[in-house]
Amino acid sequence: MADLEGRLRAAMESAVASEQPPGNLIELVRRRRRRHVMRVSAAGAASVAVVALLIPAGIRVLGHPGPGPAGGQWPAASTVYAEFDAKLTGTVVPISAATNRPGKPIRVGGSLAVTPDGKTLYVSPGAWTIPISTATNKPGKRIHVAGYLTLAPNGRFAYAAGPFGGTVTPVNLATNQPGKPIRVCPIIGMIAFTPDGKTAYVSCPSIGPSTVIPVNTATSTPGKPIHVGPDGREIAITPDGKTAYVLGVHTITPISTATNTPGKPIRLGANPTALIAISPDGKTAYVGTIGTVVPISTATNTPGKPIRIGTGVPAEQIVFTPDGKTAYVANGEGPTGRVVPISTATNTPGKPILIGVGTVIAITPDGKTVYAAAQNKVVPISTATNRPGPPIRLRYGLPGGIVTTP
């Protein structure tokens, strides 16, 4: 009989000899790149989905922002934080929105999330999370929870989850202390909170039919799984909290949050990318495809006429101005990374604004500026004119994400 090493070698070769990766692997990877969508949770900011985020696979969409501040005055962003992939570990660069000057880089990279009051930026490399005071830009003590933080709309707590481990862990944002993990499902896709923060919807994607599990945030109790279409992962919840839309590889499944029952799946003419976002007035869900963004009426759940953003250009990200009149769609794939403004009244696209490789965007809370980060630069775009300003030159590689603070 062969020695153990020889038998082990033969066993391994034999066990996987005929195994093949999924045939659509490249598309899955691209889709994964696009789906690392996070949301800026700046208080009152009606900016919605933001930012491709690439380091480990943790995925989340934060709850929809609440209504704007009384009087309708939106604060201007004081700081823009752009995360780049420099030195593999990543770097976060603070940029003053007043002067468009970059500050001292913070040597940490990962998924970004900002508290509604803008006082703390959370950076999650994957194995832990680092809180950074936005007043000093100094990293605080590590929070030892794996995965990424999805902040509740009230900013008092967050759920941390990575794709594996099967649990979500509540984190008290006042103390940055993690609580007891809640077991939900083997592979976790995204977490989205209802606007009142009472329920977290956790997607459990699977190659076959997937599920979404509602978690009562008061009791940390998971509810009965809700069945959705294949690879159901991205979740967007309407501002009134009545419907959660789950984006799968072929379909969009609306879920009534009152009954936690799925509605009839919505099919588009083309397969969606990993982008779904709800307009601030809650009337339209925008779903990305290759080359278009498809508006879906949330009243009837019927898709409208696709809005063209460019041939072969996958829609990856969308942010809305606080008044909801304009949506900015970003595509960061290839050298023609661009931002396309869309009039939401007519659902017509404006002239594309070419930015560069890896374009990701965030909008300031006052809605006056869209910041587009691309390879080695950040470009401010005036929403009044849709013209790019002088690029802020940086040398930190490709961007992973960008957020703004009040």
């Binding site: 038998r7 066993a11 066990a15 000899a17 195994e19 692997l25 790149r33 194995a127 993990p181």
Partner: protein, 172 residues
């Protein structure tokens, strides 16, 4: 080399490695591979500059697998099929059973030991290369490999006492 060409050419090998690292959990292996390729995609220029993209990506894969399962909730070792206990290893069917047993025993090892054994005996890397991939010392690689093999030997090596001229495996 474009990213697409790389994926086309190398993904079967990487996937098989991922499958072994993931303890034969296909869904986990697919997710791990996507994660790793996504990182490579993001750093593609750098990956190409390394001169050996597959090696570079395998490094990310091995470390991502280690990180992932180290962070994951500790799972109990997979129980080995009791039918295999006391199995005689004599003919073709037994060889198949032996391999199956070994693979499942491998899946039950701590992640780092499993990673070292996969890199050593599936990817045919030397101890020095493994140390480079995992960013640890050669001594650590040796000790992890030794512990992993010892654990496998415990559950999978035939007893020294022959049974009717054939070898009997210990119960796990």
């Amino acid at each position: 080399m474009s990213f697409e060409e790389f994926v086309q050419g190398c993904s079967p090998r990487l996937f098989r490695t991922a499958l072994l690292l993931a303890g034969q959990d296909r869904a986990a292996a697919e997710d791990l591979l996507q994660l790793v390729l996504e990182r490579a995609y993001r750093h593609w220029a750098r990956v190409c500059r390394s001169g050996d993209p597959e090696r570079y990506v395998r490094r990310i894969l091995a470390n991502a697998a280690n990180d992932r399962w180290r962070r994951a909730v500790r799972r109990p070792e997979r129980p080995l099929d009791p039918r295999h206990a006391g199995l005689v290893v004599a003919d073709q069917a037994d060889t198949v059973a032996d391999r199956d047993f070994l693979i499942r025993a491998l899946a039950g090892l701590p992640p780092r030991q499993r990673t070292v054994l996969v890199l050593r005996y599936y990817n045919d890397l030397s101890e020095v290369e493994i140390a480079d991939v995992l960013g640890c010392s050669v001594g650590t690689v040796k000790s992890q490999a030794s512990r992993g093999l010892a654990r496998l030997r415990e559950v999978a090596v035939p007893d020294t006492e022959p049974t009717g001229g054939q070898m009997r495996r210990r119960s796990p």
